[in-house]
C-alpha cells in the first residue's frame, strides 16, 4: 500500500535530555498504527513534531512523497494531518457544526459576512453521518457526551480533508460501549483511506484496532510489531527493559502501624471506583499509575481539598473526617501538591512567609505576626534543607525549581508531619536536587512519618519506595513489596492487564 507518512531519524533534544532519538516509522494510507510507550517515552514530543509545534534537531518527515526537515503548524494541517487530543479543543458554547467549521464559516449577505448556520449544519451532517454519529449538527457541544465530542473533533479533521488522524489517549475517559464505537469509527476511517495513529495505554484496544504497533522507549522506536506479534505481553516487554540505577536508601527500621487507612474511598473523578489503601508509619509508599489514573484526585481527597464521595478513612486507629484542608492539617496530614507554582506556593511572597503560611497563628502574638520568629523558623528550615537563596526574604518565585520544591516542603516540615503526601515531588527538578529530596524523604520516614509518594517516574518509584501501590482507573490494582518490584509488574498493573484478561475470559 502507498505510504502516506514516513519518519526517518527524527531526533529532538531539550538541553541535555534527549526526548527523541533516531525515531523511524511509517504509516500507509488507511492504516491504523498503534503507538505505545511509558509516561515520558517521547510520545508527546513526537506528536508535537508532527503537528509542527516543535522543530526536530535532525531527521526527515516525508508526507505524501514530499520531504521536510521540519513542519510548521500550517504545513502539518495542509498536508492532511489532524489531531484529536486528550483534552478536547472544542468551544462548548458553540454548536457541533460551528466547531467543525471554526475559522472557515460559511457566510451570506455578501460584505455583511453574516453566519450561514443552515449551510454549516448541512455540510456537517454528512461528516457526522460518516462516523455514525447519532446527534444533530445543531446541538450545543456542552450537551454532548465525551465520546460524542470526540466525534465532533474527528468530523472536524475530516472536514479539513485529513489523511491522517492522530488520536492521543482517545479512550481514556470513555465507557466500554463508547470505546467500541470509537474503534468502529477508526475502522470506518481506514475503509475510506484515512490513516490513524492510535496512542493508548490500553493495550487491549491497541491490539483490537491496529495491525502494526510502534513501541517507543526513552525516545527511541525499539520495536515495530506486526500481525500476530501485536500482543499486550509483547508491547509491555518492549516498553520496559532499561537498567534502572538504584537510588534506594534502606529504612532504619521496619515499617510501623497503619497511620492512615482508606476503606472504600471514592472520588468525584472516578465515582464508581473504590480505593483501599493503608499508609504505615516510617514507610515510603510509592503510588504508581498512568497519568489520569486518579492518583492526584486521591491525594486531594486525603488533604481535604475535595470532599470524598464515599468511604472512610482512619488516622492512627481513629475515624477521620476531612471536610476542609484545615481538618487534615490539624492532624498532621499534609499535601505537597503537584502544581508547585499554582497550589504549593505564593510565588510573590518571600520564602519566610510561604514557610509559615499554614501555621501562621503560631507565629503571632495577640494576632500580630512576629516577623523575627517567622524568619527564625524559615532560617532553620533553610539550614536543614540546604535551601539556596540570598535570604529568606527573597521571593519564592525567584528560586530554581528544586529550591521552590524545598520551600513547598519546608512549609510542612516546620510543623512536624505525621502523614506526608507528595505528588510528583521531583518533577522538573535537576538530578542533584532530586537526590536531596529523596534523602529528606527517607529522613522523615525514619522519624516515623508515613509518606505517600505519587510519581510517574519509574526510576523514582522503584528506586525510592519501600512498597508500591499501582493505581488503574481509580482503583488500587495491586500492591508490590520491595522484593516484587519490577517495571514489568508495575506496568502490567498500571495498564490493567489483570482486569482486562479477566474481562476477556
Amino acid at each position: 500500500m502507498h505510504k502516506f507518512l514516513e519518519v526517518r531519524g527524527l531526533t529532538k533534544r531539550y538541553g541535555s535530555t534527549v526526548a527523541l532519538r533516531n525515531v523511524d516509522f511509517e504509516v500507509s494510507q488507511g492504516e491504523a498504527l498503534g503507538l505505545v510507550g511509558e509516561n515520558g517515552a517521547g510520545k508527546s514530543t513526537l506528536m508535537k513534531v508532527l503537528g509542527g509545534v516543535v522543530a526536530p534537531d535532525a531527521g526527515t518527515i516525508t508526507i505524501a512523497d514530499r520531504s521536510h526537515d521540519k513542519l510548521t503548524v500550517q504545513q502539518s494541517m495542509a498536508s492532511g494531518i489532524a489531531f484529536v487530543h486528550q483534552e478536547l479543543n472544542l468551544f462548548e458554547n458553540l454548536t457541533a457544526a460551528a466547531n467543525i467549521f471554526i475559522g472557515r464559516e460559511a457566510t451570506r449577505g455578501g460584505p455583511l459576512r453574516l453566519l450561514d448556520d443552515r449551510t454549516l449544519a448541512a455540510r456537517a451532517k454528512p461528516l457526522l453521518a460518516q462516523l455514525g454519529a447519532d446527534f444533530s449538527p445543531e446541538i450545543m457541544v456542552e450537551d454532548l457526551s465525551l465520546a460524542q465530542r470526540q466525534m465532533v473533533e474527528i468530523a472536524k479533521a475530516l472536514s479539513l480533508e485529513a489523511r491522517l488522524v492522530i488520536m492521543d489517549e482517545p479512550t481514556s475517559s470513555l465507557t466500554q460501549s463508547e470505546t467500541e464505537r470509537l474503534l468502529e469509527t477508526i475502522r470506518k476511517l481506514s475503509a475510506s483511506g484515512v490513516a490513524t495513529i492510535f496512542i493508548s495505554h490500553r493495550l487491549g484496544e491497541v491490539k483490537q484496532c491496529c495491525s502494526r504497533v510502534a513501541v517507543l522507549r526513552d525516545g527511541e522506536t525499539v520495536a515495530m510489531l506486526k500481525g500476530k506479534d501485536v500482543t499486550p505481553e509483547n508491547m509491555i516487554r518492549h516498553m520496559i527493559g532499561r537498567d534502572l540505577k538504584s537510588v534506594y536508601r534502606a529504612p532504619a527500621q521496619a515499617a510501623g502501624e497503619d497511620m492512615l487507612a482508606m476503606t472504600g474511598l471514592r472520588t468525584a473523578y472516578r465515582p464508581l471506583s473504590e480505593v483501599n489503601l493503608a499508609l504505615r508509619a516510617g514507610e515510603i509508599l510509592g503510588l504508581a499509575g498512568l497519568v489520569g489514573s486518579g492518583r492526584t484526585e486521591l491525594a486531594r481527597v486525603i488533604a481535604g481539598i475535595e470532599p470524598a464521595l464515599g468511604g472512610s478513612m482512619r488516622f492512627a486507629g481513629k475515624e477521620l473526617v476531612v471536610a476542609a484542608p484545615s481538618d487534615a492539617i490539624a492532624r498532621g496530614i499534609y499535601l505537597v501538591p503537584e502544581d508547585r507554582k499554582g497550589a504549593g506556593l505564593v510565588l510573590d511572597f518571600p520564602i519566610a512567609q510561604n514557610v509559615t503560611m499554614p501555621d501562621l497563628k503560631r507565629y503571632a502574638r495577640h494576632l500580630l505576626v512576629d516577623a523575627r520568629l517567622e524568619s527564625h523558623t524559615a532560617n532553620a528550615q533553610k539550614e536543614s534543607l540546604d535551601l539556596r537563596c540570598s535570604s529568606v526574604a527573597q521571593a519564592a518565585g525567584e528560586l530554581s525549581g528544586g529550591n521552590q520544591q524545598k520551600v513547598a516542603l519546608a512549609k510542612w516540615l516546620a510543623m512536624s508531619p505525621k502523614v506526608l503526601v507528595m505528588d510528583e515531588p521531583t518533577r522538573g527538578i535537576d538530578v542533584g536536587a532530586k537526590d536531596e529530596i529523596y534523602r529528606i524523604m527517607r529522613q522523615l520516614a525514619d522519624s516515623g512519618v508515613a509518606i505517600l509518594m505519587i510519581s510517574s517516574d519509574m526510576e523514582e518509584v522503584i528506586g525510592v519506595s519501600d512498597r508500591i501501590a499501582v493505581m488503574h482507573e481509580g482503583r488500587i490494582a495491586g500492591i508490590l513489596s520491595r522484593g516484587e518490584f519490577s517495571e514489568e509488574r508495575i506496568l502490567a498493573l498500571a495498564v490493567g492487564r489483570h482486569a482486562q484478561q479477566e474481562a476477556a475470559a
Binding site: 488533604a303 481539598i305 476542609a324 484542608p325 484545615s326 487534615a328 492539617i329 490539624a330 499535601l335 501538591p337 502544581d339 499554582g342 497550589a343 504549593g344 506556593l345 505564593v346 510565588l347 510573590d348 511572597f349 512567609q353 503560611m357 499554614p358 501562621l360 497563628k361 503571632a364 494576632l367 500580630l368 505576626v369 512549609k411
Partner: protein
C-alpha cells in the same frame, strides 16, 4: 515605604508646590482645613474599598450604601429620636450586614463580585429614594445635636475630626493589614487563592470578612458624610463615590487582580485625588472638567508606573 508610595508622595508634593506657586490661596488655613476634611471623608471608604480589592474583589455599591445608610441615620436621629450613639452603632452594624450579604453571595453562591456589588449599587440607591419618597432628608429646623456635631463634623486646633478619624482608622487598618495574621491571609488569598486553600486557610471566610469590614467602615463614613452635608438628596448623594475609592486604591498601588497594595498607598492616593479636585477649583479650570483632570492624572500615573516596572524588569535581565 516602598517605591510606589514614594513616587506617589513625590507626585503629591510636586502638584502641591505648583498649585501653591500659581495660587498661594492653596496654602491658606481655610483651604487646607477644607481639603483635609474632604480627605478624611473620602479616605474612610477608600480604605474600606482597598481591603476588598486586595482580596481580589471589587465593591461597587459604596456610594449607594453611603446614601441609604445616610438617610436612615438622619431619620433615626432626627425623626425617630433614637439616641445618636445607638443609631451610629446600628448603622455600622447594618453596613457590616450588607457586606456579609455580599460576601455570602460571592463565596457561597459563587457569584462574581462585580455582579453582586453592581446589583447592590442599584438596589440600595432605589431603596434610599423610596425610603425618603425621593425627598431630601435632613434635620428639622432648630434641631441640634451638639455632641454628635462636634465629634464628627467639628475641629480641634483647626484639624477637622473627619481627618482625625481617617488617620486613626488608617493606623489601625495598617496594623491589621500589614502586621496581623488576618492581613497576611488576605494578601495570600488575593494573590493565589489555591495555594492559600492548600495551606489550610479558610479562604471563603477571609474573603467574606473583607466585605464585612468594608461595609462597616463605609457605614461609618456614611455617618461622617451625612453630618457634613447635613441634608441628603437620595438620588445624588454619594454618586460615583465608589469610583473615587477605586481610583484612590489603584493610584495607591492596589492591583485589581488582588494581593497587592498598602494602606499608606491608599492614603496617598486619596490625598492626591483631593488635591487634584482642589487644583481644578483654585486654578480656575472649568469645574465641568473635574472628572477629566482626575481621569487623565490617574491614567498617566498608572502608565508611568507600568513603564518604570517594565524598564526595571528589562534592566535586571
Amino acid at each position: 515605604m516602598n517605591r510606589k508610595d514614594l513616587g506617589l508622595l513625590v507626585l503629591i508634593l510636586v502638584v502641591g508646590t505648583i498649585v501653591a506657586i500659581i495660587n498661594p490661596r492653596f496654602l491658606s488655613p481655610i483651604n487646607l482645613s477644607n481639603t483635609a476634611n474632604l480627605i478624611g471623608l473620602f479616605g474612610l471608604f477608600s480604605l474600606a474599598q482597598a481591603f476588598v480589592i486586595i482580596s481580589g474583589g471589587i465593591e461597587l455599591s459604596s456610594g449607594s450604601v453611603i446614601a441609604l445608610l445616610g438617610v436612615i441615620f438622619l431619620d433615626l436621629v432626627a425623626a425617630a429620636g433614637v439616641p445618636w450613639p445607638l443609631a451610629a452603632l446600628l448603622i455600622v452594624a447594618l453596613g457590616g450586614i450588607l457586606g456579609l450579604c455580599h460576601g455570602f453571595l460571592i463565596t457561597r453562591m459563587g457569584l462574581q463580585p462585580f455582579v453582586v456589588t453592581l446589583c447592590g449599587l442599584l438596589i440600595y440607591r432605589g431603596v434610599a429614594r423610596y425610603y425618603t419618597d425621593d425627598a431630601t432628608a435632613g434635620f428639622p429646623f432648630g434641631a441640634s445635636f451638639p455632641w454628635l456635631e462636634w465629634l464628627v463634623a467639628g475641629r480641634s486646633f483647626g484639624v477637622p475630626h473627619s481627618l482625625v478619624a481617617f488617620i486613626l482608622a488608617a493606623v489601625a487598618l495598617a496594623i491589621l493589614l500589614h502586621k496581623s495574621v488576618y492581613g497576611r491571609y488576605l494578601y495570600a488569598v488575593g494573590k493565589n487563592e489555591m495555594a492559600a486553600r492548600y495551606s489550610g486557610i479558610n479562604t471563603r471566610l477571609v474573603i467574606a470578612s473583607a466585605y464585612v469590614l468594608c461595609g462597616a467602615l463605609t457605614a461609618a463614613a456614611a455617618i461622617f458624610i451625612a453630618m457634613y452635608t447635613r441634608s441628603i438628596s437620595p438620588s445624588s448623594h454619594g454618586n460615583f463615590y465608589e469610583l473615587y475609592a477605586i481610583a484612590a486604591a489603584v493610584l495607591g498601588g492596589c492591583s485589581l487582580r488582588g494581593g497587592e497594595g498598602s494602606i499608606l498607598g491608599v492614603v496617598l492616593g486619596t490625598i492626591l485625588l483631593q488635591v487634584l479636585q482642589n487644583l481644578v477649583n483654585l486654578l480656575g479650570i472649568p469645574s465641568s472638567l473635574n472628572f477629566a483632570v482626575m481621569g487623565t492624572v490617574i491614567l498617566l500615573g498608572v502608565l508611568a508606573d507600568q513603564q518604570v516596572m517594565a524598564y526595571r524588569k528589562r534592566s535586571r535581565l
